[in-house]
């Protein structure tokens, strides 16, 4: 039993795609831009050449925010979306009827349709692959060249992520919606 979360030192993100490839290979995610479980949003520096404001460019790794109060779980008519024992928002492909309510409800655009399993799928923190084997890292966290991601148990006061959240300022995406994400962006 754990309450898994992830802290992202997003200013170190260089948008190299290592996490995206690792995720696809680990979780057997289909190819194609619409099938990403994780992605990096960003914007170019503002200004005109040669006066560019490099500080205005930023890259933000994004994925399912693993909300404590997930709108996708709330709207699911078949209870396909559920919380597992580690508080990870999961999808039961047996129950999913592709109604796409969850896709519309998710404020983070985190869901996509997996054409193979006919499921509206999303990031699972590698729960049915790595974590199921007893490993303690997600594929994206493990491979990140610049060590942006810290994954761990929020309920364990001694975990690295708990320590980080105690000592570093951080924010959540669209916090005003009250979804209480378990992804934290370190400032």
């Amino acid at each position: 039993m754990a309450r898994y979360g992830m802290a992202l030192d997003y200013k170190n993100c260089i948008n190299c795609k290592a996490c995206e490839v690792a995720c696809k290979e680990e979780n057997g995610v289909e190819l194609g831009a619409e099938k990403h479980r994780i992605w990096v949003g960003g914007n170019d520096p503002k200004g005109e050449w040669p006066l560019l404001d490099i500080a205005s460019a930023a890259f933000l790794p994004s994925q399912c925010q693993q909300c404590e109060d997930a709108p996708c779980q709330e709207v699911c008519p078949t209870h396909a979306t559920y919380y597992d024992e580690n508080h990870v928002v999961r999808v039961d492909s047996e129950k999913c009827i592709l109604c796409s309510y969850c896709m519309n409800a998710c404020p983070y655009d985190a869901r996509y349709v997996d054409d193979r399993t006919m499921t509206v799928d999303k990031c699972t923190f590698c729960s049915d692959t790595r974590l199921a084997r007893g490993e303690t890292t997600t594929a994206c966290q493990n491979t990140c060249p610049t060590k942006v991601r810290t994954f761990g148990d929020l309920d364990d006061p001694n975990s690295e992520i708990s320590e980080l959240l105690r000592t570093r300022e951080h924010f959540s995406l669209k916090a005003h919606l009250g979804t209480n994400p378990k992804l934290f962006y370190l400032t």
Binding site: I14, C16, V21, A22, N27, A33, P50
Partner: protein
């Protein structure tokens, strides 16, 4: 808080620089497989997706590689795999791979081949080679051979250089970083290693460390407490992540460096004690630099970087306690490249940043014992000719452009009639592709060893399918100087189809060639005839070293075991087999934060070693050949771009390694084709919008490519990534996607190292 776009949909619509395009995902076969819940075998290996080499563990489930994970034991790669490293699975399971030995049926380049057995392929090569070498009266240099892959290069040279006896070996150095290696070696007597992590102030000229990842540098840069200043004619990811970005006029970094040296000497900012002890001919340097008046104002006129910034940065640099001017490894840009690289070394030396923390360090690499072999002496073999007219040049890897020029103009002192090409995509890797084609068409025999049906492979008479790096064990390699380690590539799965490791290919070839080629020598070589007369045929053959399979008496696993155990003991060998890596602190290394380890304790790192060396300010040999013995600016370095023309510069995306990853299905998913970067205001005035097709014309040829208007590039500069525009239809994912830079680049080369200058082509463009 900064507002950053987070929406997935908007991101997909809005961005080409990030280039995620919905590809035809519909009917695609399964390219990815979910890993199972079961425990599986984790085989330690070394990545080969680029020249860098990171360590990983391959997860193997029932003989199938399902995932690659970083190896936390390797000090060099700092427990990471990049996108290409993660996508290496696709290189193994690429359906377009070369699967069987092939012999050409159609014309060169049209891709018609017949499948043959390995023996038929060897037999074909033997018949041709015997004829060619006999025609050339045993001048073995008529067989040129080349290699573009770092691993096994020396072993490949042992076969074709030492055993077969050719002097004509060519590698990627002359289309890559030879000027940098040469400049460092000639100035401080060693190529050294840069201690990025230990530097508190770092300047990078052009090297794009966040898109062209090199470990540990790319990892360390973001975590070192340092100021990072980046000069680049293009606002790269490295520029964006810098503390200060200096947009620079292409090819003028030398002027920036000369000005730094001028200011440092004039204002006496340099490390006087260091200069006194280590510099040779400092007086000459001082006199030269001061008399040339390389002021910041002067540098501004060349570089377009404001003089005040040059002054301030120079002052900051020399005031820092561990400043480092980062010597990037990258292709050569312009005629002044060698002098530019040398000026960077001199700046580091003036700051005292040599052989100390945060500088260019010498360190203490592990020296592995050589496996000795007996080399025949071929008295009729003539030396290489591609360094004629080159001041230094690499005696090992030569000069590609000079070599090719002499072949296609029939000015080589003897004909080169055969080429063995291993993992070196000649048809894509050097400027002016038509000339390369012409060269290959002049050969009587072209043999390609590769994993993919590249543009070069389809020019071959015989194609020998090599297995990928995950299907083979390689000889142990020593890495790094500050925190040295040994690393071993273990075999994750058996070679697929009928592919073989390079060693097995050469062993088969050697078996077939040794005796017939010995007979050719016996016919023409007077010394050998004498030796046969004195000792008999058999002894002359064996003791003369004519058995080409000598190195392959034992398989690679046995060779590794013997070599490593003899030099380092069983414990080290076991570590290399089990963990893929060995370093002295492997059992005590500790994780200091999130996936980031401390390998060598700080006090055990080889920051400073005892070494007698000098910093050579003045290179007499250069003066003798009519070049500047001390870095200087020459008028002909001023590159003119006519009105309405553009200067083309190249580079690559984070998801590509030259043309080697062109067909990788996963990486294609991120970057299907390359785009032409063009200044947004210029594009506006020409009516060019994102995704518009644009024709780009140079004196060599023309290409068509889609446009990417951006504020991240100067008005008279265009950028495109290398590694696209593949011509071989056999590369089904890559064929027809994007355009090739080398189609339009002019084939100029500088004369100090014979390196291709990639950034000296003007083009015009037209919207289609």
């Amino acid at each position: 808080m900064k507002k950053i776009e987070v929406s997935r949909r908007k991101f997909l619509q809005g961005s080409v620089s990030l280039c995620v395009y919905a590809s035809s995902a519909m009917a695609m076969p399964l390219a990815t497989t979910k890993t199972s819940k079961k425990n599986a075998e984790d085989v330690p290996y070394l990545c080969n997706m680029c020249r860098n080499k990171c360590a990983g563990f391959a997860r193997v489930e029932e003989n199938i590689i399902t995932k690659l994970n970083p190896n936390h034991y390797f000090p060099k790669s700092r427990n990471m795999l990049c996108p290409k490293g993660n996508a290496a699975i696709q290189a193994v399971y690429d359906k377009d791979r070369l699967k069987y030995p092939l012999i050409r049926m159609g014309k060169r380049g049209d891709g018609r081949y017949r499948r043959v057995t390995w023996d038929e392929a060897y037999e074909y090569i033997k018949d041709k080679l015997v004829k060619i070498i006999d025609e050339e009266k045993d001048n073995r240099s008529t067989v040129a051979y080349c290699n573009g892959e770092g691993f096994n290069k020396d072993e490949y040279i042992k076969f074709f250089g030492s055993k077969l006896g050719s002097a004509n070996f060519l590698d990627e150095g002359s289309i890559c970083l030879n000027t940098k290696l040469g400049a460092t070696q000639l100035t401080i007597g060693d190529v050294g290693e840069m201690d990025v992590a230990g530097s508190d102030y770092m300047i990078i000229s052009g090297a794009n460390r966040y898109e062209s990842l090199i470990t540990p540098d790319s990892v360390d840069m973001l975590h070192a407490k340092q100021k990072l200043v980046v000069l680049d004619p293009r606002c790269t990811m490295t520029a964006i992540k810098a503390d200060e970005y200096l947009p620079v006029n292409p090819g003028t970094d030398l002027a920036f460096c000369l000005s730094m040296i001028y200011i440092a000497i004039k204002d006496e900012l340099y490390d006087k004690a260091y200069v006194k002890t280590y510099f040779k001919d400092f007086d000459k340097l001082k006199k030269h630099i001061l008399s040339k008046k390389y002021t910041a104002k002067w540098a501004e006129s060349k570089t377009h970087i404001p003089a005040e910034r040059i002054k301030r940065i120079t002052k900051e640099f020399f005031a820092a306690s561990h400043p480092l001017y980062y010597l990037g490894r990258r292709s050569v840009w312009s005629q002044n490249d060698f002098q530019f690289r040398r000026a960077m070394v001199l700046i580091n030396a003036l700051a005292g940043s040599i052989n100390r923390k945060g500088g260019i360090i010498f360190g203490k690499p592990f020296h592995l014992h050589e496996e000795e072999i007996n080399e025949p002496l071929y008295s009729n073999t003539v030396d290489r000719f591609d360094l004629d007219g080159i001041v230094y040049g690499s005696q090992k890897g030569g000069s590609w452009l000079n070599f090719r020029e002499k072949i296609v103009t029939n000015t080589s002192p003897y004909p080169v009639k055969a080429m063995f090409i291993r993992k070196h995509n000649l048809m894509q890797n050097m400027p002016n592709i038509e000339k390369t084609k012409k060269m290959l068409n002049m050969m009587d025999l072209v043999v390609v060893l590769d994993t993919m049906p590249s543009d070069t492979a389809v020019m071959a008479d015989v194609i020998l399918p090599e297995c990928t790096f995950l299907e083979r064990e390689d000889m142990v390699v020593s890495f790094n100087r500050l925190e040295p380690s040994l690393a071993l590539r273990n075999q994750a799965i058996k070679p697929m189809y009928e592919s073989k490791s390079m060693q097995d290919i050469l062993k088969g070839l050697g078996k077939k060639l040794s005796v017939p080629l010995f007979k050719v020598s016996a016919k023409h070589d007077a010394d050998l005839q004498e030796s046969i007369k004195n000792y008999g045929k058999e002894k002359a053959f064996t003791e003369g070293g004519y058995n080409m399979t000598e190195l392959y008496k034992y398989d690679i696993t046995t060779r590794n075991k013997k070599l490593i155990t003899a030099q380092f003991g069983k414990k080290v060998y076991d570590s290399l087999k089990k963990r893929g890596v060995w370093h002295p602190y492997i059992d005590t290394q500790k994780e200091i934060f999130n996936n980031y380890y401390e390998y060598y304790p700080k006090e055990k790192r080889h920051y400073t070693v005892e070494r007698n060396y000098k910093v050579h300010c003045y290179l007499k040999k250069l003066e003798k050949h009519g070049f500047d013995p001390i870095p200087a600016w020459n008028d002909h370095y001023d590159f003119k771009v006519p009105k309405e023309a553009f200067r083309v510069i190249t580079g690559r995306y984070v998801t590509t390694t030259q043309s080697a990853t062109a067909n990788n299905e996963m990486l294609k998913d991120f970057q299907e084709e390359n785009y032409l970067w063009i200044n947004n205001d210029v594009a506006d005035s020409l009516g060019i919008k994102l995704g518009d097709s644009v024709a780009v014309m140079s004196s060599v040829s023309s290409i068509v490519i889609k446009a990417y208007p951006t504020n991240k590039i100067a008005p008279q500069v265009l950028w495109l990534s290398h590694g696209f525009g593949i011509h071989a239809r056999e590369m089904t994912h890559a064929f027809g996607k994007g355009a090739s830079d080398n189609m339009i680049l002019e084939d100029k080369f500088e004369k100090i190292y014979g390196c291709a200058t990639m950034h000296e082509t003007n083009v015009t463009i037209r919207k289609l």
